[in-house]
């Protein structure tokens, strides 16, 4: 048995050895195949890279030829709807290992050529593109740069295909470059017609004191227009209410008390050119009727709150926007360079929030009931235009980084071009897309809280990390996590919309500007197609500032030597004023002159009887102070013609005095009361001019109805109220929310002074349009 068994084992060792070796050989052969495949891939990677670099060089050379050869450039500019081809010969110094140009179309008929084509839109029109160029090259001298500007280009696509080796990779590269250098046209809007009647509300030129001790400003407010370096800080002291279509502060605004801004009109514009510090609560009441917006409205029509610098806010709550409990979801935009918002209570913004600083590190801290509300439930206009709002509002767009520590709800997108950190101490729901370079979800002070992405939206980022692992895992498991580039691929407007950058909507300030001429020369206007924000230079132009002359057009700083005067027989002629026209205390006709040594009193009624020309009243003398007695009333009939008041030297109104037009003068009741003022029907046709370096001083409880065009004269307030207006009906048909003791008013009309030197108590200003 044993012998038989052992015989069966003959050769088994050999067989085993051979089998094992065969298996080894099979494995090794497989390894060799894999290694060769990897080797081919690496070689293909090399040839593919090389082909790409060579193709790009061909495109670069072509681009350079369009700059250096006007005939080639013109040929490109005159491209029709079909593609054309250019020969590119790499020359004698060319190494064949770089590859060779082959037909971009693949047919072989255009080997050695690249393809050039003008891109067209769906309608067949050439596609052009505006670009902001911070340092354009001077075409006549490539070593120099021109001032920053907007440029419009034709979008040209150049395609090159290169193959490296006979069996190497073939790579096609195209580049859309912006041709048509002949249309490099700086966008400089023509100056608007210069007219002092462009006065709009309460305006100051210099670094005036604006230490409001409370009050109601039912008027546009423009402060510090002539400040070129914007170093002044405006500090309202007590609670104030504004009903302004324009609220423009050229410098820092530092509120010490509550500020309520009422937006009754979609034309509302709030601009703070530097930082905004709030030491008390800010309320922005967006009360306008959304249905009043024009048909097909765009971002240009949306009222806005613009802080060019940092918005510092550390209060119990912040409310900006319309009341979401009503059906009037009025669109509203909030622009800030950087946000520094910390609230123990809710942060509520019913609109879109744009954070414009590239290097800004914004922080928003709010309670669980914080909200960024959308302004509509659906978009009526989805035309795809970049300037139509890109979503339904309630979103955050940031150029810099953002740390969000609030809970609550964000009903729009959160789009951050930099990094985003969310440390939500309460659950947070985001109804739009969440986009950022890198997203960090950390557990907040109350531990990890839910971050819910709703409404079929997604998360786009390069990395998603942090200590809030539950939220991270939930997003990862949702299948809605994509790369940052994926979002860019499907959103041509960019993460932060290109048309909503500071340069696009506001312009670019010069690095320094020591005076207004330098400011005008250095300020780069935005593209008019994307401009939204009021800026300093356009407001200066609007009030007659001429940057070439360096002064205000139509401004009188001394007595005009020749004026149209009204004679006693009610005829008019051009007369030379010599300062001795007489003393007039009451009457009509001719020039009315109040010398400095004449102290007016009582009621003075002046009624120009002629129409169609100007009438002049001269008060005081240069270098002298004119003081009127208490309870002097100057009532001027401005219905027939414009009445000009020239104030020479300083002028002191007596206590409880007034300068009113006859319309308001007829409504005087009691000692210092006016029955009502109606902005819809009342106008004021009195112009006040002031000498250089002079002061217009108010006594206690005074009021003036006029348009003051006195950019070198200061208005001096007193710590008293003005006259009381029993009722004021603004153009929206509503009465303002009066603050202070009664309806105290110091000015009715419009004014442009150098500054408000000393604050009024409960300073109130009612806007009336200029005119008869």
């Amino acid at each position: 048995m044993k012998t038989e068994k052992n015989r069966k084992l003959h050769g088994s060792v050999l067989l085993t050895v051979v089998a094992v070796m065969a298996l080894l050989i099979i494995f090794m052969t497989g390894t060799l195949v894999l290694a060769n495949a990897a080797n081919r891939r690496s070689h293909r990677s090399y040839t593919s890279s090389q082909a790409e670099y060579t193709a790009r060089a061909a495109i670069d050379a072509f681009y350079r030829s369009t700059e250096d050869n006007t005939a080639i450039r013109d040929a490109v500019l005159n491209l029709g709807s079909t593609a054309t081809y250019a020969n590119v010969d790499f020359g004698a110094g060319y190494n064949n290992s770089l590859g060779r140009l082959v037909d971009p179309d693949g047919s072989g008929t255009h080997d050695g050529q690249i393809r050039i084509e003008q891109l067209h839109d769906a309608a067949g029109d050439p596609i052009t593109q505006w670009k902001w160029n911070p340092s354009p090259e001077d075409p006549s001298d490539h070593t120099r740069t021109l001032p920053a500007r907007w440029e419009e280009f034709n979008v040209i696509r150049v395609t090159a295909t290169v193959q490296v080796g006979q069996r190497g990779a073939r790579k096609t590269v195209y580049q859309d470059y912006l041709a048509n250098p002949t249309t490099f046209t700086p966008v400089t809007p023509p100056p608007p017609p210069v007219s002092p009647t462009a006065l709009d509300g309460f305006q100051t030129i210099g670094d005036s004191a604006f230490n409001l001790t409370g009050g109601t400003l039912a008027t546009p407010v423009i402060l510090g227009l002539g400040n070129s370096d914007r170093t002044h800080e405006y500090t309202p002291q007590n609670s104030s209410e504004t009903y302004s279509s324009t609220f423009f502060v050229n410098g820092d605004l530092h509120t010490q008390a509550e500020l309520h801004m009422h937006i009754d009109d979609y034309t509302f514009q709030n601009v703070i050119t530097r930082d905004f510090y709030c030491d008390n609560q800010l309320w922005v009441h967006v009360d306008y009727d959304a249905s009043a917006l024009p048909a097909g409205w765009t971002q240009k029509d949306v009222p806005y709150f613009f802080v060019n610098g940092t918005f510092h806010y550390n209060e119990s709550q912040l409310m900006m926007g319309s009341d979401q409990s009503s059906s009037n979801k009025a669109p509203f935009n909030v622009f800030m360079g950087t946000a520094d918002i910390t609230c123990t209570g809710p942060v509520i913004i019913a609109g879109d929030l744009y954070l414009m600083d590239d290097d800004g590190d914004s922080v928003i801290v709010g309670a669980s009931n914080s909200r960024l509300y959308s302004w509509t439930d659906s978009m009526a206009d989805d035309s795809g235009s970049q300037f139509v709002p890109i979503n339904q509002g309630g979103g955050i767009y940031s150029k810099g980084s953002l740390t969000y520590k609030g809970g609550g709800e964000i009903q729009g997108d959160v789009r951050i071009e930099d990094d985003l950190t969310i440390e939500n101490k309460d659950p947070l729901t985001i109804s739009g897309n969440l986009v950022a370079r890198n997203i960090v979800l950390n557990a907040g002070e109350a531990g990890p809280k839910e971050v819910r992405i709703e409404g079929g939206s997604a998360v786009f980022c390069d990395s998603l990390t942090g200590t809030n692992t539950e939220a991270i895992q939930a997003i990862q498991a949702s299948g809605l996590l994509f790369s940052y580039d994926d979002f860019l691929a499907s959103h041509p407007e960019g993460v932060y919309p290109d048309t909503m950058t500071r340069e696009a909507i506001y312009g670019q300030d010069p690095a320094t500007s020591s005076d207004l001429e330098e400011l005008f020369a250095g300020f780069v206007e935005p593209n008019p197609d994307t401009k939204i924000i009021k800026n300093q230079t356009e407001l200066l132009r609007a009030v007659g500032y001429d940057p070439v002359v360096g002064d205000f057009d139509g401004y009188y700083t001394s007595t005009p030597t020749t004026v149209p005067v009204q004679n006693r027989d009610n005829t008019y002629n051009q007369a030379t004023f010599n300062g001795e026209a007489g003393r007039w205390t009451n009457g009509s006709g001719s020039v009315v002159y109040f010398p400095a040594d004449y102290s007016a009193s009582g009621t003075i009624e002046i009624t120009p009887s002629g129409a169609g020309t100007e009438f002049w009243i001269v008060i005081g003398e240069e270098g002298e102070t004119t003081t009127w007695n208490p309870e002097t009333r100057l009532i001027i009939d401005d219905s027939a013609c414009t009445v000009n008041i020239m104030i020479l030297g300083d002028f002191q109104l007596g206590d409880r005095s007034c300068i009113l037009n006859s319309t308001l003068g007829s409504r005087i009741s009691g000692q210092t009361n006016i029955d009502y003022v109606d902005q819809n029907t009342d106008k004021v046709n009195i112009m006040i001019y002031g000498g250089t370096g002079t002061e217009f001083r108010f006594g206690s409880q005074c009021v003036v109805s006029a348009n003051a065009y006195a950019p070198y004269m200061n208005l001096v307030g007193t710590i008293t109220d003005g006259w009381k207006v029993n009722d004021y009906i603004n153009k929206y048909g509503t009465s303002p929310n009066w603050l202070g003791s009664g309806h105290s008013v110091q000015w009715i009309g419009n004014s442009l002074f150098n500054g408000l030197v000393s604050p009024f108590n409960n300073f109130s200003f009612l806007k009336l349009d200029a005119g008869a």
Binding site: K2, T3, N6, H10, G11, V13, L14, V17, V18, M21, A22, L24, I25, M28, T29, T31, L32, A35, N36, A38, N39, R41, S42, H43, S45, Y46, S49, Q50, E52, Y53, T54, A57, A58, D60, A61, F62, R64, S65, E67, D68, N69, A71, I72, A75, V76, T84, A86, N87, V88, D89, F90, G91, A92, G93, Y94, N95, S97, L98, P139, H142
Partner: protein
């Protein structure tokens, strides 16, 4: 009881054949192994080469830091004039051809590349920036 010899060893012929087969197979294995080793080295070398050189060639960067920490500058391997012709109009564009081999050699060294592969360096063409 005499023990019967029942086990038989391999014959001499079997041993010779076995040795021959083992020798052939071992040779094959060795050859394949060496080939795999060389291919893997080449692959690694090419990957290294592309990964080191591509960022420079891709961005037309001529400044790099060598293994000693010194800043070095690439010199053009050759100069050429690229002729661009469109609609009968021709423009010559001065250009330099740069070889990024020095960057790889200075920072990594020639690891496992055959001579043929060592010649395969990424090159880029820098079009002159000066205008007319």
């Amino acid at each position: 009881m005499k023990k019967k010899r029942t086990l038989k060893g391999m014959t001499l012929i079997e041993i010779i054949i076995s040795m021959f087969i083992l020798t052939v197979m071992a040779g094959l294995l060795l050859g394949i192994g060496l080939n795999v080793d060389e291919t893997t080295k080449n692959t690694t070398g090419m990957k290294d080469k592309v990964s080191v050189e591509a960022p420079f060639a891709g961005d037309n960067r001529r400044e790099y830091i060598d293994s000693a920490g010194n800043v070095q500058n690439l010199s053009p391997e050759s100069n050429t004039v690229i002729s661009v012709t469109l609609d009968g109009h021709t423009q010559g564009i001065d250009a330099d051809v740069y070889n990024t081999a020095d960057i790889y050699d200075d920072s990594v060294g020639e690891r496992g590349l055959t001579d043929k592969q060592d010649d395969r360096d990424l090159r880029f063409i820098q079009v002159a920036t000066a205008g007319p």
